[in-house]
Symmetry: C2
């Protein structure tokens, strides 16, 4: 396998979906940190899903990832999305320096993590190893409960957090990786549940305003228009299935 990126961070994630990797990409892009999205390289340069899967076991003698995404930063191999963001936050000022500040930012991120896992399970309530088409009836039931109770609970929480924030961002004046992740939550929900969002998103005005502020950050605007950005699709976490999207 070629070494594509001496000196640069390497992001290793499934090459065809935004998925959990997107939360990391948004942080790298916003902070203008040079990185290589390794699995998206041609296969003869180390890209592709097979190479990614095979790398999990051998990327490090000891600190092996359970699953993508993982980040290589010199000798470090860091997995778990929120852990990668914690690392980037400390090293690249994407979160406050003080203990209360970085703990709070990470706490919010872990709540985003919980939400993302629940989003995934709307289309895979029975088995991650089987297709959505083989668990459609259960997916409809789970997603009904998700729309009715879980989206409002999580978005209501994020809205309350923003109501209490001392400024435009969750930490006040400084953009953090948690702001970028909340942007992605709104993006994903609008993609997966457009009818639900059309009717209900107005209840979360501060969250929508945060979303718009993130979208207007010049490096984010530019990233979203670049070929580095992968559109949502039905292999990822936020998927659009007409049967799962209802206004109520």
């Amino acid at each position: 396998m070629a070494v594509p990126s001496a000196g640069r961070y390497e992001l290793h994630y499934w090459p065809t979906i935004p998925g959990r990797g997107e939360f990391v990409r948004l942080a790298l892009e916003y902070a203008a940190i040079p990185y290589v999205d390794v699995a998206r390289l041609p296969e003869d340069e180390g890209g592709g899903e097979e190479a990614l899967y095979a790398s999990l076991d051998r990327v490090h003698p000891r600190t092996i990832p359970f699953a993508p995404p993982y980040l290589k930063a010199g000798e470090l191999v860091i997995a778990q999305t929120a852990n990668i963001l914690l690392f980037l936050g400390k090293r690249h000022a994407l979160a406050p320096d003080d203990e209360a500040g970085w703990l709070w930012t990470h706490q919010l991120q872990l709540t985003v993590t919980d939400f993302v896992a629940e989003v995934h399970d709307t289309h895979h309530p029975i088995s991650v190893g089987e297709y959505y088409e083989d668990q459609k009836a259960e997916a409809a039931k789970r997603t009904a409960a998700f729309r009715k109770s879980r989206i409002p609970k999580f978005l209501g929480y994020f809205e309350k957090v923003l109501e209490r924030a001392a400024g435009d961002w969750v930490n006040g004046k400084q953009v953090s990786y948690a702001d970028l992740s909340l942007f992605q939550v709104v993006q994903g929900l609008r993609y997966a549940f457009p009818r639900w969002m059309h009717k209900h998103e107005k209840n979360y005005a501060k969250l929508l305003a945060l979303h718009d502020r993130v979208a207007a950050l010049p490096r984010i605007t530019s990233y979203l228009q670049s070929p580095r950005h992968i559109a949502f699709n039905e292999d990822g976490i936020f998927r659009y299935y007409k049967a799962l999207d209802r206004a109520d």
Copy 2:
């Protein structure tokens, strides 16, 4: 509400289950950190589920928890189990000091977090807001896939991590909160899936040995026999339902 614990940490968690709070309790107990398990106090001293639920909104003007557990440490209010452990790990030497070490320990903990969420969803595959009895058919299907694919995937991963560890513990010579959490994973699986574990646990010899080493740590042994320790039951995360436990 009384202030039960000036100067001590306050753990706030549902008072009748081990649940996610148990991962925090194990760390506090192992490190002999004085704490008050607030919701287990009498109601006139601030205990009880109602007071816990009501506290979420007002425990801090800004850094409010999404859900229990949370830890009050002086002015800090820290939520999300893995985040609490990250904090305790740094402050009380429950994880290595160096960047690679604390990141790795946290990464493992976040994988435990993922597993625990999947354990919960075996008995609640459709809706966290409804009873198990109202989603039994789907629970049987989800748990069949969980036993067949997910337990082996997670335990196989933890086993591999321990095979590669440079000593008795995940970080070699020093006990970390991740070791304590892996102990709890084995405890929980043996409670919830005794038939499955009886047949399969021998495939995870290093994990079982780690479990036994943790159980033999004097402060853990003593904690498990104390009234501070709450037994597993069918309101928690690891639940025993005969219909969900099969050897295959």
